[in-house]
């Protein structure tokens, strides 16, 4: 029952259950201030700020590309392209608080454009799922791992838009509001897209 309640909570306001490792309210404010200052420095043309932006985001953007199914080399190239575009268009970022979703939006556009240019390219995302830190070696644990592998395979084969929806919300851990902003759609539309993705996954995972 408790589990259900947590999921219901997530569905209702687009946030994760409270036991999930999300940024706490206390640490959020300094982070926002830091981002605000970073954007201001970027807009002023500060090269050191461009370097700080790379330090803060290159790992998550690279993993985002990998989780979207780009191979390693393409992910590196696309990550670079994301930052070129960010430096180039920083003046268009109106709300400093939206730096995170703005950068992910650029990343999504870069990824979509890549898939359009290379329609027949094979999807090669991250194939190896990290095993849990503490292993009991039980059979049901093995079964669970198999389920995760099946799910990973199924996510990789979702249509681009649905895959992006799942990756943004569940893997990059963006809230519904942030992820909808990235996808450039309303929250309601994002939720219904998420539901469609879950239905499709349900059919493919046993």
């Amino acid at each position: 029952m408790k589990e259900k309640a947590k999921l219901a909570e997530q569905n209702a306001d687009g946030t994760y259950p409270k036991n999930k490792p999300r940024p706490s309210g206390d640490s959020k404010e300094p982070l926002e201030q830091k981002r605000h200052a970073l954007v201001a420095r970027l807009k002023a043309g500060d090269r050191a700020a461009a370097s700080d932006l790379v330090d803060e985001y290159y790992q998550q953007i690279y993993l985002f590309m990998r989780r979207l199914g780009h191979d390693r080399q393409s992910s590196e190239d696309l990550t670079q392209e994301v930052f070129f575009n960010a430096w180039h268009h920083i003046g268009q970022l109106k709300d400093e608080r939206a730096l995170n979703s703005w950068l992910y939006r650029i990343a999504s556009n870069v990824s979509n454009l890549y898939w359009r240019r290379h329609k027949h390219k094979e999807v090669i995302g991250i194939e190896n799922i990290n095993a849990p830190e503490v292993s009991t070696g039980r059979n049901d644990e093995f079964g669970h791992y198999e389920q995760l592998e099946q799910l990973n395979y199924a996510v990789a084969r979702l249509p681009v838009k649905l895959k992006q929806t799942v990756v943004l919300h569940y893997m990059q851990q963006l809230t519904i509001a942030e992820a909808a902003q990235v996808a450039g759609i309303r929250q309601g539309t994002f939720k219904s897209r998420l539901n469609r993705a879950l239905k499709a996954l349900r059919k493919r995972v046993t």
Binding site: E3, K4, L7, Q10, Y16, K20, K43, A44, G45, D46, R47, A50, S51, V54, D55, Y58, Q59, Y62, L63, R66, R67, E76, D77, T79, Q80, E81, F83, F84, N85, W87, H88, H89, I90, G91, L113, R116, R117, H118, K119, I126, N128, I129, N130, P132, Q147, L148, L151, N152, V155, V166, Y170, M171, Q173, N195, L198, K199, L201, R202, V205, T206
Partner: protein
């Protein structure tokens, strides 16, 4: 398996679906930071609001000048030094002059990156007039036969070949002899 279980598995899958990021990637990207970053035009809220209202730059400038003159007439001391107005005027002229310009090096860096990656991309930035906001700095051919054109004012547009030819022809017509 129901959707709740799928959600649980997805939440678990996210943090476990990871791999080491190439250690030199960050440094490699930093090496490509353009010498001069594209500066945000003028952080003047009034100007931004007017631009957001999609008024042309000359209308925006005229509105600001009229507003300044009106404010001076209403509240200003006629004998006071005109330093403030002169400074605003200088800012305005600077804005007028720089609006629509972008730092070419940022676009050039992107061009070099795309070229390195084997994309079909052509650079015109060395001979176009950067003051002409409609001048084409570069174009990139996509596999579906369309092109992404980057203009001198920084905006990008996806066009077909006919439209690209029109842009190029226009640019050649404007090219000084």
């Amino acid at each position: 398996m129901d959707e709740e279980q799928i959600q649980h598995l997805l939440m678990e899958l996210g943090p476990r679906l990871t791999e080491p990021v190439p250690p030199d990637l960050g440094e490699h990207i930093k090496q490509r930071i353009p010498h001069r970053l594209a500066r945000h035009k003028i952080s003047w809220d009034t100007v931004n609001i007017i631009i957001d209202l999609r008024l042309s730059k000359s209308v925006a400038a005229a509105v600001i000048v009229i507003a300044l003159v009106l404010l001076l007439n209403l509240f200003g001391d006629r004998n006071s030094p005109m330093g403030g107005i002169v400074q605003d005027g200088v800012l305005l002229v600077k804005y007028w002059g720089k609006a629509g310009k972008i730092d070419l090096s940022a676009v050039k860096t992107k061009y070099e990156h795309l070229l390195e990656r084997g994309e079909e991309v052509v650079w015109y930035g060395d001979f176009v007039d950067p003051k002409d906001s409609h001048a084409v700095l570069m174009h990139q051919k996509l596999t579906d036969g369309t092109y992404i054109v980057t203009f001198a004012d920084g905006h990008e547009k996806e066009v077909d070949s006919e439209e690209l030819i029109r842009f190029m022809a226009r640019m050649l017509r404007r090219k000084p002899n």
